[in-house]
Structure formats: structure tokens, C-alpha cells
Amino acid sequence: MIYKDKKERILYMKRLSIVLIVVAFLCICIWILFVGKSDRTSLPPEIVHASKEFKAKAGYRVNEAKILLPYLKVGMSKEEIRSLLGEPDSKKGFEYFACISYIVGRSNMIDVFLDENEKVIHVDSVWSEYSNPFERAWPLMRPGMTKQYILRWLGGPQKELKDGKEYQYRDDQFVFIVSFDMNDIAVKLEKNEI
């Protein structure tokens, strides 16, 4: 290429550098979107199949749900849930979390609870092995919640300790302890086996 002068040559080199940088950036994005994602969704074929079937069916998908449930983990993003289960059948918002629900069959749904960052905090289904309603609700409780809110979901404690700053719940297997600060905000939640 012939340049009119040195100034034009420098201008050309600058443009070339910008183009190269943009191309490199696009390559990285494509790698992240396709290669990276494919790594993360590298699920067993039966799961991929169950997911595909679950998403394809509507209203009655008990078998697929049973297969997929073990892969629904606390900490997953809402997008990851959607990639597995598809669009939820219903959504509900609460003060400290949201719930997206998938119909599985008659009187049978998967409820996925998401925190304010849309990360999974709890997955509830008819197959959950909780011995009572309290244990089902316990995973929804987190530090930062008010005492009133916790009372509303967990009900009255068996014991109020430390001048009401510690609630203790018990069932046959566990003792559950919620500690509150001076402003009655939950600061610590413990679940200990008896």
C-alpha cells in the first residue's frame, strides 16, 4: 500500500490496531457464549433428554421431573433452572425471595425458590423428604430477615432464649436456632441434629 505521507501511514496503523482489537474481543465473546456455555451444560445425555422432554411436555411430566430434580441445586441461577426446566408455569414474589413453579402432574409441582439475585435457595416438591412443614420452610429462612417474617413462616418457637433474641425450634430429629440482633434481624441460623 502506498501512503501519501507519513501521517497517513500512522493513521492507517491506528485503524488497523482498533480493528484487530475488536476482532479479538468478538472472538472471546463467541468463545464464552458457545464453548464456555457448552462446558457448563455438559450434562449426562439422559438429563439432557429428560430436560428436553420436560420442556416439551406440559401438565404431566412426572418421570422427567423425578430425573431432573437431583440436578436442581441450591446456588444455581434462574437461567440454569430455565435451561433445564423451561419457562415456569407460574411465578410468585415474596418479601425476601421469589418462587417459580413447574406443573409436574395432578397436585404435583416443582417450586424453585430464588433469592434477590435470582439464585436458587430451595427446591420444593412432593418428593422432598421433610418430616414436617417446618422443615420445608426452614431452607427459605436466611440472615437479614426480620423476626416477624421468620415467625410468619416458621410459627412460634418452642423456646425463646436470651430475652427473645434466640428462637429455638425442635422436632424429632433436629434443633433449629435463629439468633436475632438488637433490631430483631436474624443474624444466624443453625440446624443441629439432636
Partner: protein, 810 residues
């Protein structure tokens, strides 16, 4: 001389002694008469006069003259003689002593005069005065003689006291000089002669300033003085004098009140009717150790020291000037006096006490309300008295317990059976707000204690220094009104005009022990004396902590919902019901203070029975049939019922189904976030999704978590009736249905739905609405046929149901 006398034999010595004696006697005679006076006179008619002064002598005073030693007297002499030759010499002799000489020119008047003092050494009594005259070189010629009586002061007296002693008089108004009147006392000088010499004098003299003795030239006079002091008085004449003292004693009882106001203003003290000394009295039934009021005995120190800030303190000053025999007597009413010794011995009225023993102050205790005059009378050793007075007002301070009231005001700190306040954690006005958090109870809260801070009887605003304070501890709230309005912070102050003042006390937390919550009023009078009254309460916490809710509550707390078993804590199930969770009530109470108070639980028989009913956690045994009744926790002191109690109405259901249906009702959501709305629970508990099988299992025996993929083994173990011939003969199905039975719907072998029969026709459960399409997730009533026809078949993509199994409740 000794040799003359003693150097010879005895006869010679006697002769010599006689000669010497005669010579000595002759010398004395010559010396006494004078050699000149024994000779013939050439001056005639020598006339001598004496007087108090020279002029009086010259005037021819015919009388004897009275003079004290060292006092001057006048003399005057006239004489005759042959004219012509020689001047004159004169001499004046007093009692044989030449006291004066003079010279007269013969060419002038033949007379002479002058003054001279009586020699200081001269003894009292009449003395002869005589003049001797002569011409120069001539013979001495005597005058007539005159008598000068030498006089001395032998004593001074006042009252019964004599020279060198002190007469102790008493004078009023030691503290008020302007009010004093002049006090007079007759004084007498006792002379050796009846005539008072002109040179007699008193000290002090009779001038215009007190003290005075008037007249100051007579031996009988009057001493006058006004101020309290020790006065020295004396009578003198020449060099003769006598002195004594007169003391004007006085007494002053004084406080901060100025002297001129002490009979118009009052010294204010406290009616000492509290219990600082802890003098034990008889303890009546229902009382803790009672005490006598502090002012009911004659001691400030026994068995314990009284609070001395509640006792008046008065200064006593006596000006006694050495009168150690002076005594003091007190008199008053409505008060008691104590000395300032360490023992604070009581001082009786109208009893003489040595003023020295009383010291500088006395303590005054109020024993009856009103005004009195305290008088202190000092009596000198000579029997004279004077009194000072102080007006004293005894003022009560009374904090009256109106409701609850003790048996008497004197039992306001010990009547443990009556003086009770409950921790106000009930809901007296049934508005759903616990009274402790409710600050407007229409019609008043019956759980408040009512007291009145009375206006101190007989007091005036000016009697009080500052304000009147009411103090109450942190475990009480106080209000101006029974509706709990007009909150009062402790300590609270009231001005005199605010009184009487009603105060309503609310128990906030329990006392540490019986009668350990003290509500006190304090007042400081302008005297600095403090008044204090108190009422002692026991704040009792009697609280059923479990169950927290009550069947009849207008508002049940959210804590009354037991999430783990999904029921209210006041709900039980009869003993015959299948059980998974305890169907008995979990009962737990809290009574404070412990161990002074004890538990007594009662339960209406319809709701079961209790064992260990005197513990915090009695055991409940459910009845065999459904029923409801009152669970009551009573606070007991020993075997005495305090009357303070907490109550819960509880219900024992005939089965879990009945309880769940009551709690969850029909038509409401059972989807995630659904709420329990029954029994006025507020805030309403929030639930996670319940499905049909979860509700069926729970209605069976209270088990499960509300969500299940199938029926519990308890249910599937029951006898069953299967209906799998299509179409279903609903009459046959209905024929086997009974309350409590479970109807399960299957598609092939796959369980699709279940619900619990509430009768032979109708089922109830979660997500039981018979709808086609999307499920509504509601608690619902439906006949099996309705559900089958609407939701069970022809409802794609859900599979069609093909079978019904009815599990028959045993």
C-alpha cells in the same frame, strides 16, 4: 544594852530593867504630848473646822466628817493673838499624825485653810483632828478638836450574792437584741459607817449608757443592763472598794429561721411514720414481717438507726457565763426530743436537764401532725428563768395504696397478700393487643394498681423545698389515668399544687422477691428535713407461655401457630384418635418471683386432666371425647391464692380432620405462600404449598409436611374398597364412604389425587376443587363424583382416572 541587862547579878539586873522601863515610858509621854505643847501658849482662841471640802470647813461645818482612806477633807483654822510681833506657824494633826503645816503672815488675816487626804493606812473609825498654832519661836497652842470618821466599804450585795460572787439573772431574747427590755437589779454597798462618804462611787457609774448603777453616790442603788453578759460591778470610796458580778444568762433555740420570724414561721419536720428502724411487730396472717412505725418508740437508734435525714435538728445555745448549775426544761406536744449524744437519749418534757449536758443541739421527731411550740426554759442557779420558743410544724407524707389496699396504712410495706400487681401481659380490653403494649384501654385496665400521693396535711407550698418526688423501679410503668394514658417517667416530680395526685401502676416485669418492688415518695421541707413514704408491692408474672393462643382470643399471636405440626397450640385431639404428633397440649408456664411463688394449674374436665399441676410444665391427658375448657395458671404464695392468674381456652378435637378443617377451612389457597386465617391469628402464618396427599395424610393423623407424592402407610394399611369398573357406580362408592375415610383416585396404578371424607357424600382437602384444566390449589369440598367428572377424566394432558379406592378409617 545586853551587857547592861545580862552582865550583872539578878537583883542588879532587875534594877537595871526598871530604870530602862521608866526611861522608855518617860520618852513615850514626852513624845506623845510634845515638849512644846507642854508649854504656855501665846496664840489664843484657835478654832478648827473640818468639812468634806475646804469651803465647807470655812463655812463652819459643825458636823463630823466621814471620809475613806485617801479621800480629801477640808480644814479651816482661825485664831487670836496679841498684836504686834511675829508671824504664825500652824500644824494639822489627825489621830496624832501631823498631816499638814501652814504659815500665816501676822500682818494679814489670822486664819488659814486647806485640804488633805486621809492617810491610806488609816483604820476605820472616828479620828480626832486638831490644829496647833504658834508665833514664830513661841509656844504651840492647840485648837479645839474635830472628829473625822474614817469609813471603809465592807461588802457589796445583789440579791443573795455578795462581794466576789456572781448573781446569775436570766434575761430574755438572747437571739433578739432589739426585743430586750432593761433588766434591773438592786445592789447595795455595805459601809463601815452609816454615813456615806462623799467620795463614794459605783462602777459602773450612772451615765446614759448601760450598764449603769444609779444613783452612783449612794450605797443602795440599782444596776441596770440589757444585754446578756457577765458584768462586774463594784463600790468604791478612796482606796476602799468591793466588787462582784452579775450575769445575764439567756437561751436561744435556733434554726435556719431568722430570730424575729421563729414564732411566725414554722420549722417543718416530718411525721416519722415510716419503717427505717425495722422494729419488728407482730406479723399477721397474709403478711410478711411487719414493723412498727419509727416514731412509736423512744429511740432513734434501736434496733437500727433511723434515717436521721428525716429527723429535725435544732441548735441550742445557752449563755451561762460559768453557771454550770443552770438547767433547761423543754416543753411541746406532737414531737419527741433526743439529745445529740451517740445514743440519742430521749429528752422528757418538763424535766430539768443540766444545760451543759444537753450540748449544742437536739433532734426532733414528729409524732403527730400539726403545729406546736417548742419551748426551752433555762433556770439559773439563783432561780431566775427565761424561755425561748420555736414554732414547729409536723407534716406527714402519705402515698396511699388505694387498690389493692393493705389492711392499714401501717401495713403498706408488709401486706404481701394484698399488695400485688400482675405483669400486665394479658389483654383486658380484648382488643388483640397485649396490655403492656396497649396505651389506651377504654374503661381502664383493672390490672393497674391505684395509688394517691396525698397533699401533706397542714402543709403550705412554702413549707416545701423544691418538688415532691415519686420514685418507682424499672419493673413498673406509671400513668396518670387508669386507661394507661399520661405516662409518667421515674422519678417524677410534683409541685404542691398538683396534689393530691392519682397514679396508676402497671407491672412490667416481676419483682425479685416478695414485696421487693418499692414505690416511694420523697419530700424535702424548707428545713432540709426529708419526708419519705413507700408502698411495697410484689409484681407477679403469671404467664401461660404455652399455649400462647386461646380458642376465644380476639387476636392470637403468630407464635401460637405451631409450624411443625400445623396447628394452633391450644388445640389437642382426643386420646382415641390416631396419633403421630402428640395430641395432648404442650403446657408451659412461667411464674415469678421464684421460689417465693408457686404454680397451681387447673383445667376444666371437658378438656382433659393434668398431672404435676404444681410445676411449670404439667402433663396433659386428653379426654376420651371432644370438649373444650379453660386452662388456668394461678400464682400461689405458699397455699394462698394471690388471685392473679393467666388463662387459655383450649379445645380437644375429636380427630385431626376436624382440627385441620377448622384451621384451613374451605375456599382458601393452599398454594405456596398461603395463609392460615382462622382464630384471629395475626399476623397470619404463611405456608408452603400443600398438595392433596399432604393434606390427606395430615388430616389422618397430623403427620407429614403438607406435601406428599402419596398416601401414608397408615392410610394404605386401612381396609379398602376398590371401584375400578367404569363408569363408576357412585351409589356404591357413596355407600362405603364415612367420615374420615380417604378417597384415592388412580390412573392405572398411578395415584392421581386423594381427599378425606367429611361425610358419606363429601370430601375435603387441599387442591380438591373439581375443575378441568389448570388446578386451582385451594382447600375445597367436593363429592368424589364431581371431582372425577371435572378433574379426573377428560382433562388432558392429565391422564384419565380409572379407579377409586376408598380407604376406610378404622
Amino acid at each position: 544594852m545586853a551587857k547592861i541587862i545580862w552582865g550583872h547579878s539578878t537583883p542588879v539586873r532587875r534594877r537595871n530593867k526598871g530604870v530602862i522601863f521608866l526611861l522608855f515610858a518617860a520618852a513615850l509621854i514626852v513624845g506623845a504630848l510634845g515638849p512644846k505643847r507642854a508649854l504656855a501658849c501665846d496664840v489664843t482662841d484657835v478654832d478648827l473646822w473640818i468639812g468634806d471640802t475646804s469651803s465647807l470647813a470655812q463655812e463652819g461645818n459643825p458636823f463630823d466628817v466621814f471620809k475613806c482612806p485617801d479621800c480629801y477633807f477640808g480644814w479651816y483654822v482661825e485664831w487670836d493673838a496679841d498684836p504686834g510681833y511675829g508671824d504664825f506657824n500652824g500644824e494639822i494633826w489627825l489621830a496624832g499624825v501631823l498631816i499638814s503645816t501652814f504659815f500665816a503672815d501676822s500682818s494679814k488675816e489670822w486664819k488659814g485653810g486647806g485640804t488633805h487626804s486621809v492617810p491610806g493606812y488609816m483604820s476605820p473609825g472616828p479620828k480626832t483632828v486638831q490644829a496647833w498654832m504658834r508665833r514664830a519661836g513661841g509656844e504651840w497652842c492647840p485648837s479645839n478638836t474635830r472628829t473625822l470618821v474614817v469609813t471603809e466599804i465592807e461588802d457589796v450585795t445583789a440579791g443573795a450574792k455578795h462581794a466576789t460572787e456572781t448573781l446569775y439573772r436570766a434575761q430574755d431574747y438572747l437571739d433578739e437584741p432589739s426585743e430586750r427590755q432593761t433588766l434591773t437589779q438592786g445592789v447595795t454597798a455595805v459601809l463601815s459607817e452609816v454615813i456615806t462618804p462623799d467620795c463614794f462611787y459605783w462602777v459602773p457609774d450612772c451615765d446614759e449608757y448601760l450598764p449603769t448603777i444609779c444613783p452612783d453616790d449612794g450605797c443602795g442603788a440599782t444596776f441596770s443592763a440589757k444585754d446578756h453578759d457577765l458584768y462586774s460591778i463594784g463600790a468604791g470610796c478612796g482606796n476602799s472598794s468591793k466588787t462582784m458580778s452579775i450575769a445575764l444568762e439567756g437561751i436561744n433555740i435556733y434554726t435556719y429561721i431568722s430570730s424575729e420570724d421563729e414564732m411566725t414561721e414554722t420549722y417543718n419536720i416530718f411525721l416519722n411514720e415510716n419503717f427505717d428502724q425495722k422494729r419488728e411487730s407482730t406479723t399477721l396472717p397474709g403478711h410478711k414481717q411487719c414493723y412498727y412505725v419509727d416514731n412509736s418508740d423512744d429511740s432513734l437508734t434501736s434496733p437500727n438507726y433511723d434515717n436521721m435525714s428525716e429527723i429535725g435538728w435544732i441548735n441550742i445555745y445557752a449563755a451561762i457565763y460559768g453557771d454550770t448549775d443552770a438547767t433547761v426544761k423543754f416543753n411541746a406536744s406532737g414531737i419527741k426530743l433526743y439529745d445529740s449524744s451517740q445514743e440519742h437519749n430521749k429528752l422528757e418534757f418538763n424535766t430539768e436537764y443540766n444545760i451543759v449536758d444537753i450540748g449544742g443541739s437536739i433532734y426532733v421527731e414528729g409524732i403527730s401532725t400539726g403545729t406546736t411550740t417548742l419551748s426551752a426554759t433555762i433556770e439559773t442557779q439563783d432561780g431566775y428563768t427565761t424561755t425561748d420558743q420555736l414554732k414547729i410544724k409536723v407534716i406527714p407524707l402519705d402515698l396511699v395504696a388505694v387498690d389493692p389496699a393493705p389492711s392499714s396504712d401501717q401495713h403498706e410495706i408488709c401486706h404481701k397478700e394484698k399488695l400485688l400487681i400482675r405483669v400486665n401481659n394479658n389483654d383486658s380490653d380484648n382488643d388483640g393487643t397485649v396490655d403492656l403494649l396497649d396505651f389506651e384501654l377504654v374503661g381502664g385496665d383493672p390490672d393497674l394498681a391505684h395509688i394517691i400521693l396525698e397533699k401533706p396535711l397542714g402543709a403550705e407550698a412554702s413549707d416545701i423545698s423544691g418538688s415532691i418526688t415519686v420514685i418507682f423501679p424499672a419493673n413498673l410503668n406509671a400513668f396518670c389515668y387508669p386507661e394507661k394514658t399520661g405516662g409518667i417517667e421515674a422519678p417524677d416530680s410534683y409541685s404542691f399544687s398538683d396534689l393530691p395526685f392519682d397514679i396508676y401502676l402497671e407491672g412490667k416485669s416481676a419483682s425479685s422477691d416478695i414485696l421487693k418492688t418499692s414505690v416511694a415518695a420523697e419530700i424535702y421541707f424548707d428545713s432540709g428535713v426529708k419526708g419519705h413514704d413507700e408502698i411495697r408491692y410484689t409484681v407477679i408474672k403469671v404467664d401461660i407461655e404455652s399455649p400462647k393462643g386461646s380458642l376465644d382470643a380476639v387476636k392470637n399471636p403468630e407464635a401460637s401457630w405451631l409450624s411443625s405440626s400445623s396447628r394452633f397450640d391450644f388445640q389437642g385431639v382426643i386420646s382415641m384418635a390416631p396419633r403421630y404428633r402428640p395430641y395432648v397440649l404442650g403446657i408451659n408456664g412461667d411464674i415469678k418471683p421464684t421460689p417465693s411463688l408457686s404454680y397451681l394449674w387447673t383445667l376444666d374436665a371437658a378438656a382433659g386432666t393434668l398431672t404435676d399441676d404444681t410445676t411449670a410444665t404439667p402433663d396433659h391427658t386428653a379426654p376420651a371425647t371432644e370438649g373444650q375448657g379453660m386452662l388456668t395458671l394461678k400464682a400461689m404464695i405458699d397455699t394462698m391464692d394471690t388471685g392473679l392468674k393467666d388463662e387459655r381456652k383450649v379445645k380437644i378435637y375429636k380427630d385431626h380432620l376436624e382440627r385441620d378443617k377448622t384451621n384451613f377451612e374451605t375456599g382458601g389457597s393452599c398454594d405456596v405462600g398461603w395463609k392460615v386465617t382462622t382464630f384471629n391469628v395475626d399476623p397470619q402464618p404463611t405456608m408452603i404449598k400443600w398438595n392433596c396427599h399432604g393434606s390427606t395424610n395430615h388430616a389422618c393423623d397430623g403427620s407429614g409436611n403438607g406435601s406428599s407424592s402419596g398416601l401414608s402407610s397408615e392410610i394404605t394399611s386401612w381396609d379398602k374398597d376398590t371401584f375400578d369398573v367404569l363408569p363408576i357406580n357412585w351409589s356404591n362408592v357413596q355407600a362405603v364412604l364415612d367420615r374420615g375415610d380417604v378417597v384415592a383416585y388412580y390412573a392405572g396404578s398411578s395415584l392421581q389425587h386423594s381427599a378425606t371424607c367429611i361425610s358419606s357424600t363429601t370430601t375435603w382437602g387441599a387442591n380438591n376443587e373439581p375443575v378441568t384444566g389448570t388446578e386451582t390449589w385451594k382447600w375445597y369440598l367436593a363429592t368424589p363424583q364431581d371431582w372425577w367428572n371435572n378433574a379426573g377424566i377428560n382433562n388432558p394432558p392429565l391422564p384419565d382416572c380409572t379407579k377409586i379406592i376408598v380407604y376406610n378409617k378404622p
